[in-house]
Symmetry: C2
Subunit: 201 residues, 2 copies
């Protein structure tokens, strides 16, 4: 029995913070972990900016609701879910993912969550696990699943290496150079072919 | 973060073997674990009967494809998936569940699987885990999820007791008497109310 574990942002939907920054025109929200490696500092900065713009969770969800999955992602995922079990493993927050999950047909997602104060402002965030993606793969393996993992970023590498099979999808050149042993896909067609070959083994 | 873990047969869809027996008119397939407690003996008997009737997996899936989820189950599940994560924990086989999962909008399901020979006949079955439902709840708890479990049968009791919250849904009188401490639901409305109250805690 197999479980296919997919990253969300960059793999099925656009990077949420970057799209949000573009949609709202708030350039300060373009900053990512590449610019500020201290994740807690980055999140506190983002929460401050949102508060300054009086953007509560509902406003943010409305903006995220105008975003679309990557072109072809829904069809790719629909086809995969007809043949095997799929779960999305993501570092994002369930409250942000919601509007996009709806557009993807409510696949299962394991991610983190936000705390919202009485004014509807984001007051804090809760990381469910450290290195969650890898631990989730380990958990599925202990439940006797054969696992396949795929994503586009550095935070996907531990799960890809932990899983029984895996690949990179539209990863940046730097990661491709650092991980020459991994299979790579640039289109959903190539992605599906790699997964089908894993499932047939 | 919460995960709601639901039984499949009797909870969201009819008992598959019983419905299959009614649809095909093969009365010998009405036998369940209540009549034959040795599960392996029961499954070998079922596989023999299917072979005698020249029913391969595709024929069986076609018959299962004519079954429908329990009335109201799809709407109940759709609503739940909009608010939280849901996974179906079942002792059935993924090949049997498929046609019904399609009608339920492809929720994630963790179950067992079948082996099919070159003639398309079911030749064997693979139990992924013993006491799988309980072990799956334990795995989600280790991943820092708050868990809720619900079902209608004896094989649901270990997961219900293992989970942080739970209830029985349309359970037989005997189980209700033996488990007076568990919350009970008879309608999907009551079921949703119990789950919402768990999520709000």
């Amino acid at each position: 029995m197999d479980i296919i574990c997919l990253d969300l942002e960059g793999t099925l939907v656009p990077e949420i913070w970057i799209s949000f920054s573009e949609k709202t025109g708030i350039g300060q929200l373009k900053i990512t972990t590449r610019d500020e490696p201290d994740y807690d500092k980055l999140m506190r900065y983002r929460m401050d900016i949102l508060r300054q713009h009086h953007l509560g969770l509902k406003d943010i969800q409305e903006v995220i609701g105008t975003m679309a999955p990557l072109e072809g992602a829904k069809e790719f995922l629909d086809d995969l879910r007809r043949h095997t079990q799929v779960v999305i493993l993501s570092d994002t927050f369930s409250e942000f993912a919601g509007p996009l999950m709806q557009k993807l047909g409510w696949p299962m997602i394991m991610c983190n969550s936000l705390r919202v104060d009485e004014d509807g402002m984001i007051s804090d965030y809760v990381m469910r696990l450290q290195d969650g993606k890898r631990k989730e793969i380990q958990a599925f393996k202990r439940l006797n699943y054969r696992t396949f993992a795929a994503g586009d970023s550095y935070n996907d590498l531990t799960m890809i290496h932990e899983a029984d099979g895996g690949c990179l999808f539209r990863a940046p050149q730097k990661i491709l150079e650092e991980e020459p042993g991994l299979q790579i896909a640039q289109t959903y067609g190539e992605f599906a072919t790699i997964i089908r070959s894993f499932l047939a083994k």
